[in-house]
Structure formats: C-alpha cells, structure tokens
C-alpha cells in the first residue's frame, strides 16, 4: 500500500474554542490509483490533503507513505517529504513569481535532485507549454499557469500527486482539457493521485471517491 491513513485527527483554534476539522479519518491508496475527495466547504478536505502532503501536522493518528511513518516527522523531514515523494497542485497555481516558466518547471525536480531535462522537455511539450519557457508566471493565462504547476509537480516524479481543486480557477473547457492532461501524465508515471474537488463530474472520472462530512468519511 502506498498511502495508509489511520484515525487521523486535526483541530484548529477558532474564535469560540477549538474546531475539530478531522475527527478520525482512515483510508488507503495504492500506486496507480486515483482518488476523488469530495465534501462540503469546511468538511476538512483541504486539511486532509495538507496533512498527507506534509504541509501540516496531525494531532493524532498516523500517515504512512510507502510504509514509512510521515506523522512523526519534524520540519526538516516534512520538507524532504515535500521535495521528494509528494507533488502538490493547488487551485492557486502556486508558482514562484520571480522565476520564469522553465525555472519553475524544473524547480522541484532540482530541489529533489532528480532533474531530468528530457523528461522536462517531454512534459513541456505534452502540456502545450513549448515556447513559453522564458515567460514569467504573471504573463501566462490561468490555464497555462496551472499546466506549469502540473509540469513542475510531475517533473519531480513524485510517488503521490495531491491536487486541491486543480481546475477550480479555470473555465469548464480548459478545466476538462487540463484534467485530461494531468490524468494521462499521472497514469504514465504510475503515481497515485488524490484530488480534492467539488465537481461530481470530475470525481466520477477517478477510480475511487471518498466523501468527507463534518470531519468523518462517509
């Protein structure tokens, strides 16, 4: 099993006491699988994604990635996890504004020490970014930016791709096109994909669907 999540709990401080966002979530995901995570706003989807991606620390429960415990890691360990094993695509196309497209795409792979120019070139072509390499993020359209983010994530060959409403900022046609490209490329690498989405249509295209409600899986 690539990803094994067991009884995961997380709460945040709110204005009127702690808010329990996750109240004991367990699930597993294998390589090559795709998983859609759906639920109402505030149901804890993004939090679950952040915990799995090593962006935040859980209060209780365990996350194992490739058999290794992720939950006990310190800042450093989690940073290494983010660099090497996990790739994250956000809704807000989190590109680095000071770097051009080429540098952005290569960034994570180079951080992980796994930059492969051929692969980057292939990804760039596949995502229709050829000729855009010298541009800066602010000069790109939303769809292009998200393609860059996807290329950056996949260039590092993560074992697990996490996507948080990756097409939420895009119009329907573009969204569908970008999703197709992403699914295709993920399938190519054999990585697992876990995607948070509001859209039943998108969710339906995944192998599995999980629905979060009030911090619990249904």
């Amino acid at each position: 099993m690539l990803l094994d999540v067991d009884d995961l709990k997380k709460s945040y401080d709110g204005p009127s006491g702690p808010i329990e966002v996750l109240r004991g979530v367990s699930f597993a995901l294998d390589s090559g699988q795709t998983l859609a995570l759906t639920g109402e706003s505030g149901s804890g989807k993004s939090t679950l994604l952040h915990l799995v991606g090593g962006l935040d620390e859980a209060d209780a429960g365990t996350i194992r990635l490739g058999g290794a415990e992720v939950t006990g890691l310190n800042d450093h360990g989690r940073a290494a996890l983010r660099r090497g094993s996990v790739g994250i695509v956000f809704q807000q196309f989190n590109l680095i504004p000071s770097l051009d497209v080429d540098a952005n795409i290569a960034f994570q792979a180079r951080l992980a020490g796994a930059a492969d120019p051929d692969r980057i070139a292939r990804l760039t072509d596949a995502l229709g970014l050829a000729g855009q390499g010298a541009k800066y993020p602010e000069q790109l359209s939303g769809g292009q930016q998200q393609r860059v983010a996807i290329a950056r994530t996949l260039a590092a060959r993560p074992r697990l791709v996490l996507a948080d409403e990756p097409t939420g900022n895009l119009d329907e046609a573009t969204a569908s096109e970008v999703l197709d490209q992403m699914l295709e490329l993920v399938a190519e690498t054999g990585a697992a994909l876990m995607m948070v989405t509001h859209s039943p249509g998108l969710a339906a295209r995944m192998n599995r669907q999980l629905r979060l409600s009030a911090g619990l899986l249904q």
Partner: protein, 799 residues
Amino acid sequence: MTRACLQALFSHWWRNPLQLFTLLAGLGLATALWSGVQAVNSEARSSYDAAAATLGEARFDQLVPRAGDTIPQQTFVALRRAGWKVAPVLSGTMTANGIRVRIVGIDPLTAPGGIGPQALETGTDPAAFLSQPVLFANPEVADPLAGAVPDRVVPDKGVAPGTALTDIGVAQRLLERPGELSRLIIVPRQPMGRPPLDRIAPDLLRRPAQGGSDVRRLTDSFHLNLSAFGLLSFAVGIFIVHGAIGLAFEQRRAMVRTLRALGMPLRRLVILMAAELLMLALVAGAIGVLLGYAVAAALLPDVAATLEGLYGAQVSGALQLRPAWWLSGLGIAMAGTVLAGAGALWRIARMPILHSAGARAWSMTSRRWRRVQAVAAVALFLAAGILARHGDGLVPGFGLLACLLLGAALALPLLLDPLLDVGMRRTRGVVSEWFWADTRQQLPGLSLSLMALLLAMAANVGVSTMVSSFRLTFEGFLDQRLASELYVTAEDKAQAEELQAFVASRVRAVLPLLSVETRLAGVAADLYGARVGPTYSENWKFLDSRKPVWPHVAAGEAVIVNEQLARRAGLTIGEHLDVGQGVRLPIAGIVGDYGNPVGQAVIGEALFRKLFPEIRATRFGLRSNDPEALRAALIRELGLPPGAIVDQARIKAFSMRVFERTFTVTAALNVLTLAVAGFAMLMSLLTLAGMRVPQLAPAWALGLTRRTLGRLELLRAMLLAALTMAMALPLGLALAWVLLAIVNVEAFGWRLPMYLFPSDYAVLGVCALAAATLAAAWPAWRLSRTPPSDLLKVFSNER
C-alpha cells in the same frame, strides 16, 4: 460620520501598535537627526553672532592703529568733526575675582545698529546705560564681575562668552585707560564730501569687514561641514518618512475601501487621513525635536571645545532650546510628511472603490516608472557634471552635491538590478538561483530603504574622508608652522634685544617672527620676513614651487605666497609680486595655509628689514635640542613669565586633542545616521513581511524549511547592504571631493588635499552590514517562526 470614520482609522493603530511605533519612530528619528545637527550648528553660530555683534567685526570695516594698540580719543573726535561717521570701541581684559573678563566699551550714540547688548535693544532702560554705569555681562562671568566692579552688572545671554559690554566711559575707567580707544567702527553709510582718511588720521589702518579678525570666516569651514551633514541627514530622513507613511497607507487600503463602500465620501476620507497624518507628524516631530536636543546637548560640549581649540572662538557650552528649532524641527517633520504622504493620499483618492483590497505590489515595479527613474538619474548626473565644470560659487557647489546624491539614489535600484541578474546567471544550484531571482524581485520594495542606506553610508564615507583629510592637512600645517621647539614672546623691543643676546649661544637657531599688515596685489595680506635656515627648508611643503625656493628667498630674490593670496589675486609660480616700495619679486613657491583667511607672503629677513626698518620682532621661534632646560633658563635667568613661552609639543598635543573631539562628534553622528538607515531598512522589511508570505509559501510547499527561508532572508538583506556599500563608497568619495575641492574653495579660498582611508571605510562597511543584518534579523526570525497554518492560508480554497 466623521467621528465614526476617525474611530475606524484610529482603530487600525490600536490593533497594530507596532506600525504606529514604526511610523512615529521613523518620523521622530529623522527629525531628531535633522534638528540635532541644526541645534549644534545654530548654537555655535549664535555664539559667534553674539561675539561678532559685540565686536562689530563681522559686518563693518574698522580703523585700527598702524602701530601699538591705542587710538587717542582726540583722533576719534577729529574724524567725526571731519565728517567721518565712526564709532569708538575700547576693549581689554581685567581680572575679576580670579577670572579674566574681556571688557568691551562702546558708545551707543554713534555705534551702528545691531551693536550692543541685546537687553539694550529689547527695552531695559537705555538712558541708564549712559547715565548710570552698567555692565551687560555674559551670564558665566556676571557673578565674578559683580563682586569686582562698583557698577551694576546685568547678565545678558546675548553678550559673547567671557565678555562684558558697557559704555565706553565705564570701560575706560575699569581698564584704567582714560582717553584711549582700541579701534573705530566705520558706519556703512557715510556722508558726502569727506576729506580722505589719511589726511585726518594717517596713523590708522582701515581693516575691511572680512579681515583677519573675523572669527566667523574661520569657523565657517567647520560649520559648512556640519551643514553638509545636516543636508545629508535630511535626505536620509525623507526616505525614512516616505517608507513609514507608505506602510501606513498600504495597510489600510482594505479599510478605506470598506469605509467608502459604507458611504463615506472620498473627499472627507482623504481630508481626515491627511489630518490624522499631520497630527502624527506633529507628535513625532515633537519627539524628534526633544531627541535632537538630547543629541545636541550631548555633542555640544565637544563642538564647543573643538571650535575653541581650533580657532580660539569661544562658544558657550550650554544649550538652549530655541523656538526656532522647535519650529524648524516640526516644520521638517510636517514637510517631510506632506512630501511623502501626498503621493499616498493621491493614490487613495484615485483608487476605484472596487479595487482589490489586497496589499498592492509597489508601484515602482512598473517598467515605465523605471524608465522615468533612469532618465531622471541620468539628467541629475549630467547636471552634476555641468555644475562641476562650469559652476561658480557656493550655491552651485551645494547644487552639485544635491544632484550627485539624488542621482545616485535614483540610480541605485537600476544598477543593483543587472548586478543581481548577473548573480543569478552565474550561480549553480536551484536554491541559490531562486535566491538571486527572489532578491531581484524584492528590489523595488526595498529600494527606498536601500537608497536611505546608500545616502547614509555615502555621507559617512564622505564626512570621514573630509574630517580625516582635514586632520592630516592640519598636522602637516602644524609641523610646518610650529617647527621650532619653543616660541617666546618678549614684552617690548628692549626685552627682545636682551632675549636674542641671551639665547644666542644656547640654541641651534633663533627665528624672529617679523610681520607687517599690508596690501599685496591689491589684497589685504600679511608680509613675513623669514630667517631662512634648515627649519624652513625641512618643514615647508609647497603646493607648487620652482626649486630651489629657499636660497632665492634668503637672497631677497624671490617670494613665497600662501594659497589664499595666490587664489585671490590669481597669482602663479614665476609671476612677479610687488612686496612694497616698488620691489618686485618672482613667486618661487605657493604654500598651503590651512584655516587662515588672510593672504600671506614670505620674503627673506634681510629684505624685510630693509623695507620695514621700523618693524622689530618681539616673537621668536627657538630651535633647541633641550627645550625643557632652555625654558627653565629663560624663566629663571631672564625672568620671562612662563606664559610668554609656548612649547611646540604642547600646542601640537592640544591641537590633536581638539581633533579627537571633532572625531567624537563625527563618529557620534555617523553612528546615528547608520542607526536611522538601519531603522529604515527594518521598517521596509516589516512592511514587506506581510507580502512575503504568499511569495515564500510555494517555495516552502515545494520543500524548503522555514529556517532555510529565514536564513535566506537574512542573507538577502546582507547581500543588498553589501552591494549598496559597494556603490556608496565611490559616491561618498565623490561627495568628499566636491566638499574639499569645490565647496571649500568657493567658501574659503583654499583647497583641502584629499586623502583616502581604506581602513575607515572597511570599518564603516562592517558597521553598515551589521546595521542591515540587525534590521533584517527580526523579520527573518519572525518568518522562520511563521505557523504552517499561515503559510497554508495562501493555498486555501476558501480564501
């Protein structure tokens, strides 16, 4: 509505006390620096003004005796009765309860306006000045004087230090010099049809207003330095104020939008914000003035000592908080605020109501703005070049300084940008590549504070260079002019003869100091007769000469002139100068004569004695291998008073001590400027910190730890500071060059040679780096401790 709006506006400060503090502190520090320098400067100046007014020396031509120090009162009456409007002055010192007090007697009926004690000008019973004897004394000497004279003594702060001013009749009685005067002031507007002066009073010499006794010209050099420093500190201050206000406005854009959405008229909102700003400026200005006062109070004793030691000008060591400083300090705070706030308010006024409330990127990023900036910088540099080549006078000199500074400040980001680009291209490694790229992106946001840092460092480099060059030059001057081991003053000509006979067998050389006031090449000047020997040839350094200088001078075939005379009369080596009675000699050397406003020429002793047989030396330089024994012998065997013998070592030691104090002042001001610039940087970084999180969060999400990010932030500040320092060095040197080679020449007629002090600059660089590091440390630390949840918010969909 106004109330609710004000409440909303103010609530921002209560919620963000740190911002309020930075705004007030920024404005306050800038004002403090400005008013501190101004206070030191104006306090010293007003002391001279009092002195100059008392003596009537600064503004009026005077008549002084050609020989001796006395003018008979009858000469005064004769001049008046011939139609010459002159006013008598008698001055001398008396000892009152062990304290030496300078008594200056004037005649209020004939003295031109502005001469006389302030109390008289402003309304105590003036008839009493004439009918009942009264002395207006500087408060420091009023008490001892009151115990020593039968007359009424009134303390008056307007009277020069150590001085008491009184009616001339009282002065004649106290100084026991009935019927005698020291000099006559020539009233500026004279009647028509007067007979020539030398027909009435051939024994008197007319001394022009800006002559040798004008204390002010001497000390102006030092004050000019301080003024230049004040200008620089003001520039630094404006940058800080700009930063502080930009911050305050950027952070409240959301509130402004909300208030407008709720129906607040834009006009009123802008007016209220302007009023709020001015109120804050007033508070910060008041804090700044007090702070500046504290700085000045701490520095003033040193400044007073510096000036007194350097030039013999007496400056009262006590500081008074004058209304003018309050006003100028507050004015600067307000003006700076208006200057800096106008743009921010304008932007608020033009902001569309539905504009994104998020913190906007700094407007300077735009390409158009950068082009404007580049054009302005180039134009300023061009103007500086033109002023340097063709400018004539003090104002163009200062204009040149301003152009240079502003141009450099504007050019700084434009120069740093390609440098960072080069850095980015040359680096290997993804993190360092990102570091360079990100640093480059930060540049617009930091450029204001970097400009402030640039100006601060350049000012420090410039001022250090200037002061140190000053010192080296002065040391050389001392070596040249104080070559003899002992200087002895005889009371009269008889004692002078005795002295010469006494020392003849005891010293290596006796150097009589022969001089006469005269006019050379149409300029008032002192002519010296030198007994040429190794003392002169070993110690005098020429700015320009045709060798061999001294043998020709000794033979009465050449003359040496000082730089002042050469510049004023336009003389060069080889030209001929009439030294008197038609004797024309070629100029063999031009000598630097630092700090002396009067032209000087030196001829051989034999020629001097031939031309001026009536002049006898009463002062002598003595070359001795054992000055201590000689000094003892002169006191014991010849009965000279110890005060008549000055040894060179003491003068030099004293002079050097004076310079140490100058350095204390300079160093203190340096530290202060750097602190202020560091503060500007801190504020910029704090302002940017809020914007940094969204920029840094992706890098963090992609696998950089917060600690690494914090460390990189610190490194970034140091890199920028180091690069800025690299630019500040040439700018500072250019600044020093302008001050020494242009401003000083225009102001005083001599050029200070410029020396370089690499170790000083290294220390300054380290200090600047330290200031930048300190400024960046806290924001970086805060960044490294940002909770992940804050970083995550950047990615949150619900945002």
